[in-house]
Amino acid sequence: MPGRFDISSRIVSQKEIAPDTFLLRLYAPEIAENAVPGQFVMVRPGLEEERDPLLRRPFSVHRADPDAQQIEILYRVVGRGTRMIARKQAGSHLQVLGPLGRGFSLPKGKIPILVGGGLGTAPLLFLADVLEEKRAVVVLGAVTRSQLLRLQDFSSTGLEVLVATEDGSLGNRGLVTEVLDRLLGRLEKDARKNVVVFSCGPMPMMRAVAGLCGNYSVECQVSLETAMACGLGLCLGCAVCSDTGAFLHVCRQGPVFPAGQVDWSKI
């Protein structure tokens, strides 16, 4: 595993790109160079002397730009920690630890289908950026058009982008899983072996995606979220139940797991 780095990272820019949703650009050379799609970073919301909130917050690497030595984080303000981060302005610094965890693994020769819902698009853009397989398809879903994040950027990767909104305000009316169902249903049985689904989004969505892929016998990798204290494998706090009954540790064995490894009934 390549190194992990704990750095005081300068904020290059921070923009509210949708209500309560921010795009944060950080100068973080070591992380930009070493990160792979699906990995995450731990960000300290406050200054070093601030002890409340105590823990760092995990965020997927949304994009890594090794040339500019920068990374991007796409996040939503949901509580105290994210609110504090959102208040920071360009030029100030954030303590950032990363890159952490195991990202998506690209099985040779398979055609990827990226399935993201809501903030689940965060790790997928990085993945779309680096995919060499240009037959890959991106399926993005949201409740409504305005919540479809980074659509333009996904399109610019040159991959095919399919969209589903629950209210039909853009693309297919309905859920991403319906689009995925149709995509997979259209494939020959043999062709399904050559497809891999990468998914990130709300738990119910990922559960449904995992179920679908199971039914179609299509390989599927999901990126899980859980409460984390360290992100390094020190505390064993980030356990989720596996199919064998043992626990998986999201920060070190994940956050990306083969969907079949996860006990979806206990998440």
């Binding site: 300290r44 859980t226 494998g233």
Partner: protein, 332 residues
């Protein structure tokens, strides 16, 4: 950072500080404050350790902390058999604190010896093994098994886990039970035995004295304070286990008080743990009578914390002309 580099770093800092002093002071101070500490027959190169359960088995931290520069690592609590631990969620954040209910998940003693210990041993990292049993017999068996394993420098006996009891009482809250466990472990091995005390007691001194009498080389305290949190939206305890152990800055005043009390009622070394995030926190513990400290939750938040704590202690002692850790202690 390699060991050599780390030492050079300390050296460099000292040189800088020293150059501000008169020649006389320089001669007087020699090579800076004495940082070595003895725990039974074990000598630590400095008094800053990593607390059990917050530093994995070592390699997890290696990228961000030079472990050879740290007094000792106390590895995650080990039991005879592997343990799966508690159902998630296992952690919850509280004001300046962390609740955990890991449930002592660990690989078991055999896997520890075969697959975790070698990494530490090869690097010459001073290693203390935190052990945990369901019965006095299991503690004894663990001590016997770990005895003479190359690379193990001491045992820390965790009698303070709130979830493990005998006869309905946790070992750590009853002086007699605590003494039994301590005595059995001391009998079963030649290693220095540190007993880690629970704060969930009315009278810390009676427990500390009991384990001292049973032959412990040192006590470490405190383990986490039993607490809980509730998710009011979901109307359910946050932790899968309902209760968890509170750690972090929030508990520092309680830990410090107990260390002060313990240091005044036993003659064996007292190791201070609980909420230490900075050198100034650690110095409070030395002043309260601790001979060494452990950094726990702070490492989770800030994996390099122990290194900065150590450097800060040296700087403070240097600036305030303390020659040894013992001089820091207040009163008798």
């Amino acid at each position: 950072m390699s060991a050599g580099k780390a030492r050079f770093f300390l050296q460099a800092k000292w040189t800088g500080a020293r150059s501000k002093m008169s020649r006389q002071q320089q001669t007087f101070l020699g090579n800076g404050p004495e940082m070595k500490v003895s725990i039974g027959k074990l000598e630590l190169k400095n008094p800053v350790m990593l607390a059990s359960g917050t530093c994995g088995y070592g390699p997890e931290l290696a990228d961000v902390l030079d472990l050879t520069n740290i007094g000792a690592i106390v590895v995650k609590g080990i039991s005879m058999e592997p343990r799966a631990g508690n159902p998630p969620p296992r952690i919850a954040e509280t004001p300046c604190g962390l609740l955990n209910a890991i449930g002592l998940e660990n690989v078991g003693v055999e896997a520890f010896i075969s697959s975790k210990l070698p990494w530490l041993h090869e690097r010459n990292i001073t290693t203390i093994v935190n052990i945990l049993g369901n019965s006095v017999g299991e503690y004894q068996a663990l001590a016997a098994r770990l005895n003479k394993c190359p690379g193990i420098h001491a045992l820390e006996v965790n009698i303070s886990c709130p979830n493990v009891k005998e006869g309905g009482v946790a070992f750590g809250t009853d002086p007699e039970q605590a003494a039994k466990v301590a005595g059995a472990v001391v009998q079963a091995c030649d290693l220095p035995v540190i007993v880690k005390l629970s704060p969930n007691v009315s009278d810390i001194c009676s427990i500390a004295r009991a384990v001292e009498d049973a032959g412990a080389s040192a006590v470490s305290l405190i383990n986490t304070i039993l607490g809980m949190a509730i998710d009011i939206q979901k109307k359910t305890p946050v932790l899968g286990n309902v209760f968890g152990g509170l750690s972090g800055p929030a508990i520092k005043p309680v830990a410090l008080r107990m260390v002060w009390q313990a240091a005044r009622c036993v003659d064996i070394p007292v190791i201070g743990v609980g909420g230490i995030t900075s050198a100034s926190d650690a110095l409070e513990f030395f002043m309260a009578g601790a001979c060494a400290v452990q950094v726990g939750t702070a490492t989770l938040v800030d994996p390099g914390a122990a290194g900065r704590v150590l450097q800060g202690i040296v700087d403070f002692m240097q600036e305030n002309h303390y020659q040894s850790l013992k001089e820091l202690r207040i009163g008798p």
